[in-house]
């Protein structure tokens, strides 16, 4: 069967996108003060800009009358590695060594200006009161019955009364039971391995801390009906009587 002669094989082009990190510097008027601040920054953390590609955003500086070449020269004099400028129109770039570079994203008209240049009236009232810390414990002062489930991810759970067989208590932190624990206690959802489980009378169906769980098959009946604490040590649940 005749086969049409194939054109000489060309290598397949691989075209991919890749993102690079570079720092953006946006000089602001007054430029003298801005450069002073930059020098101070360089003095404190000299290695911060070393070998980091930098893009200069001149949108603000240009409006304030800054000269592109002067600013770039001043930056390069400080040893900064400028790879591009942005924030200017191609006309403004014409004649500089940056002309002909691809247009980087931000143009002056694109700058975020949600109020459309209007003066924002900043109210003169005091700062809002600091947030009250969230409640980090939950107190339940009645029995947790079979089939009930207490889930509190934000901290410790304290229960005054028994936790019945078939009930479960799930806490972000530790679980304290002033009564018999006959159901499941799952602690350390947030606090992790530091969480513990305490109860007046131990008889749990399952205990778990930070994802490590255990059932009565693997612990001694000697703890039954005694005050006990459960903690996680080196990835192993340790049940010990409370003195």
């Amino acid at each position: 069967m005749p086969v049409t002669a194939a054109a000489p094989a060309l290598p397949q082009l691989r075209i991919r996108g890749r993102s690079f990190m570079c720092l953006i510097l946006a000089p602001e008027p007054p430029l003298d003060a801005w450069f002073q601040a930059l020098d101070e920054q360089l003095r404190r953390a000299a290695s911060y800009f070393v070998n980091k590609p930098i893009v200069v955003n001149l949108a603000v500086a240009q409006e304030a009358g800054g000269k592109l070449d002067e600013i770039v020269a001043a930056l390069e004099a400080r040893g900064l590695y400028i790879i591009a400028v942005e924030g200017l129109t191609p006309d403004e770039l014409a004649g500089t060594r940056w002309a002909g570079l691809p247009d980087l994203r931000q143009k002056p008209q694109d700058r975020e200006d949600p109020v459309g240049g209007k003066v924002i009236d900043i109210p003169d009232d005091p700062l809002p009161a600091p947030n009250v810390p969230a409640v980090t414990s939950l107190l339940i002062d009645r029995p947790v019955r079979s089939g009930q489930s207490i889930i509190f991810e934000d901290g410790d759970v304290t229960i005054i009364g028994p936790v019945s067989s078939g009930a479960e208590v799930i806490a972000g932190g530790s679980i304290h039971i002033y009564g018999a624990l006959r159901g499941r206690a799952i602690a350390g959802l947030r606090a992790g391995a530091n969480a513990r489980i305490f109860c007046h009378k131990f008889g749990a169906e399952l205990v778990a801390i930070d994802g490590v769980y255990d059932t009565p098959e693997s612990w001694s009946a000697a703890f039954n009906n005694r005050a006990a604490q459960v903690r996680l040590e080196d990835g192993v649940l340790n049940i010990a009587p409370l003195a």
């Binding site: 009645r142 079979s146 067989s165 078939g166």
Partner: protein, 273 residues
């Protein structure tokens, strides 16, 4: 001031219906106006235990759906005239009940009776939920064994969350009736002791009903044990429970091993007639 009592347990076969009938009869015998309502639609039994199975014409579902008037469906007991029965339907299922319909029936019963005793079906589904929904007081029936105790615990949790009273933040009285208590087996550790059950369930004890042939006989002949064999220990347990519900202080008696004579020990097992 009428009281709606739900007799419930979670688990089946522990003695809810027997307790509803016996407690209802005991309250009626004490002069109270009592109606016992069978919520076990589809598996009705309360009519049998009360010996009224041949007198059921209209039932709870008919009243809930508006097909019959309440007065037509209420069956007056022939032995105690202050005791009435509202039977369940045997041919329908629990979906035939609606919350609004049940509320209307209960509200109407409240105007006629001192005590409305709702015999709950087993389980935690719709029938059981509707039986407890409008109750003021719960009588939790439990056998001294772990499965029954755990199911009762579950039901107590629901009483505390799913009833109208609980949702309104009002107190909800819960009482425990321990049935089928066998002192000999409890002493041997073959069943849970009274203290074990009370410790787990943490609700006040209303009465302990001993396991007894009197209870079975009473069910078989369709007559509550408090009427059928008033002198028996089981009848006394229910009569005492009724008195306690009425606010009387009566000491709770724990059934003990009966002292058996030589002959009854030798010939302890009765021949089956």
């Amino acid at each position: 001031m009428s009281k709606v009592v739900v007799v419930t347990s979670g688990k089946g076969g522990v003695g809810k219906t027997t307790t509803s009938a016996s407690l209802g009869a005991a309250l009626a015998q004490a002069g109270q106006n009592v109606v016992v309502v069978d919520f076990d639609v589809g598996l009705r039994n309360l009519d049998l235990v009360l010996g009224a199975e041949r007198r059921v014409v209209f039932d709870l579902v008919n009243v809930v759906q508006g097909d019959a008037k309440l007065a037509q469906a209420l069956i007056k007991d022939k032995r105690v005239d202050t005791l009435s029965l509202l039977a369940a339907s045997q041919t329908r299922d629990k979906d035939a009940l609606t919350e609004e319909g049940v509320k209307a029936v209960i509200d109407e019963l409240r105007t006629k009776f001192d005590w409305i005793i709702c015999d709950s079906p087993a389980g935690i589904e719709k029938g059981a939920m509707l039986a407890m929904r409008f109750a003021d007081v719960a009588v939790v029936v439990t056998n001294p064994e772990v499965s029954s105790v755990r199911d009762s615990d579950r039901i107590i949790g629901m009483l505390d969350s799913k009833t109208v009273r609980a949702e309104n933040g009002e107190t909800f009285e819960k009482h425990l009736i321990l049935t089928r208590f066998n002192p000999v087996r409890a002493a041997k550790g073959e069943m849970l002791g009274v203290d074990d059950v009370l410790e787990i369930l943490a609700i006040p004890l209303l009465s302990i009903v001993p396991e007894s042939p009197d209870v079975l006989n009473a069910s078989n002949v369709g007559c509550p044990v408090t009427l059928n064999s008033p002198g028996s220990a089981a009848a006394k347990a229910y009569t005492d429970a009724a008195k306690r519900l009425l606010g009387e202080k009566v000491e709770i008696t724990t059934p003990t091993e009966e002292k058996q004579g030589l002959f009854s020990r030798l010939f302890g097992r009765k021949a089956v007639a």
